[in-house]
């Protein structure tokens, strides 16, 4: 039972991370693409990048989401202090 709770707890943490980074990514996407047109960005990219707008928005959003989720997970992982009791 204890073990179950621990596993479920981890799952909830992951859920929270995904959800919060989803919301932040949505805001970031709106701000970013209200300022920059993905088609223009594709034109000035340093490597060949052909983006239509829907693709640009979608890839942009998913990248923001991934970045924010990885960042949040890293923060959670590192913010756990060594003197806290270990969970097994």
């Amino acid at each position: 039972m204890e073990k179950m709770d621990h596993k479920a707890n981890k799952l909830i943490t992951l859920g929270v991370v995904l959800w919060v980074s989803f919301l932040s990514a949505a805001v970031a996407t709106m701000l970013f693409f209200a300022t920059f047109d993905p088609v223009d960005l594709g034109d000035i990219a340093t490597f060949p990048l052909s983006l239509d707008r829907m693709g640009g928005y979608s890839v942009g959003f998913l990248l923001f989401w991934l970045l924010l989720a990885v960042n949040s997970l890293a923060v959670i992982w590192l913010a756990r202090r060594p003197n806290e009791p270990r969970e097994h």
């Binding site: 859920g15 209200a34 300022t35 979608s58």
Partner: protein
Amino acid sequence: MTDSLNKIPVEVALYESSEKIYPRETKGRFQRWRMLCVYMLLGLYYALPWVQWGDRQAILFDLPARKFHIFFLTFWPQDFIFLTLLLIMAGLLLFFATALAGRVWCGYACPQTVWTEAFIWMERWVEGTRAQQMKLTAAPWSFTKVRKRVTKQFLWLTFSLFTGLTFVGYFQPISQLFVDFFSWELTGWGLFWVLFYGFATYGNAGFMREQVCKYMCPYARFQSAMFDADTLIVAYDADRGEPRARGSRRKDESSENKGDCIECGICVQVCPTGIDIRDGLQYECIACAACIDGCDEVMDKVGLPRGLIKYSTDALDKGSEKTLLQTLIRPRVIIYSILLSVIAIGFVTALSMRGNFLVDVLRDRNAFYRYSEQGEIQNTYQIRIMNKSQTTQLYMLDMRGLEGATAVWTKSSEPGVSREVGAGEIGEFSITVSLPETADYKRSQTIELLFSETVGDNVDTIVEPARFWGPRDVSR
């Protein structure tokens, strides 16, 4: 319930492994309101993209074209401030509603609640009442169980897919989207987002349900900051209800010590988040008032007055004598409403004063100046005119700021000719400013280019500054 706010239980573990909650169906006045809200909100969601406005979809967030259409309004990326203001107003409205009436948003309007409710209805149609659902879960796999489960999943998945399709229908023309989808021709990002949103609906409303409110919702965490003693909450009248008595103890006439709560447990069974409201105000409570309706029904049956569980405020519970008006008018409410009205007035004013077109002027970077065949000094500029209005517009060009110079659309012979830009479109043109060699000029000077609308009663002019280059400083 004298100390409801002090009785908030401290949750020791942040998470306890959750068991599926089977909320019992209730009927009553608040549940009728909730049904009405669900029908209205879901109805709006599924119907709105089908509404036409002129020859286009009334509400279309046309991302590929970078234009948002909302009925007679069209928003461009340059209008981002309006979206920001709109979001701020929505936030303030939520604060305002929370201060007044507690978590009405959660109970009646939140998409999570609304879609969960719809999914619960489907579950009830297929699997029956709470008791039947629990029995079915406990039962070994049989043909009936498989049939019911498959039917339920089929309904859920179909509904989710439809929800996902409708969602994408806000971003690309919905009739074409449906045609593409049902002829298996929808591909790429459109299909991806249909499946994404559909899956999110299925997961959130089918499985996670109240856990979204308990573990994931930021509003559920900070809504208590907007609460005070006069905020409407769902409360159990402990003074009247306690001590609880049921069965033989209730029938025992000699026993003085019995409250009105008959401990039937209905309030717990109907709760979609699985709490016991009699333990006091809890952050899991989404104020759906199912327990109020459940309890009222029981009170009617046993012949006791309604309102053992009711909408109340902490102050009222403590015997406050305030009138409704006194409860409504308090600093928190006044401040929220002032802020809200100021921003709303600003929003409407700014929206009505919003210009109908925008102009970008870019100098031709290839050459500062050149000479025409007639020996005039010429500068050329690239012009982008964004017609934000709903009608085709003709634009006239003029200039000032340099004696003797004239501005014309390139490749047009004389001034006074206008250029056309369709409704909601961007026109790209080039213009030439010419100055006779004999005039006075500097190596570089600022001129002003004037663009004027010519169609309609309310014509605007935009003045854009630009640099004009000559070969050297000349004054005669």
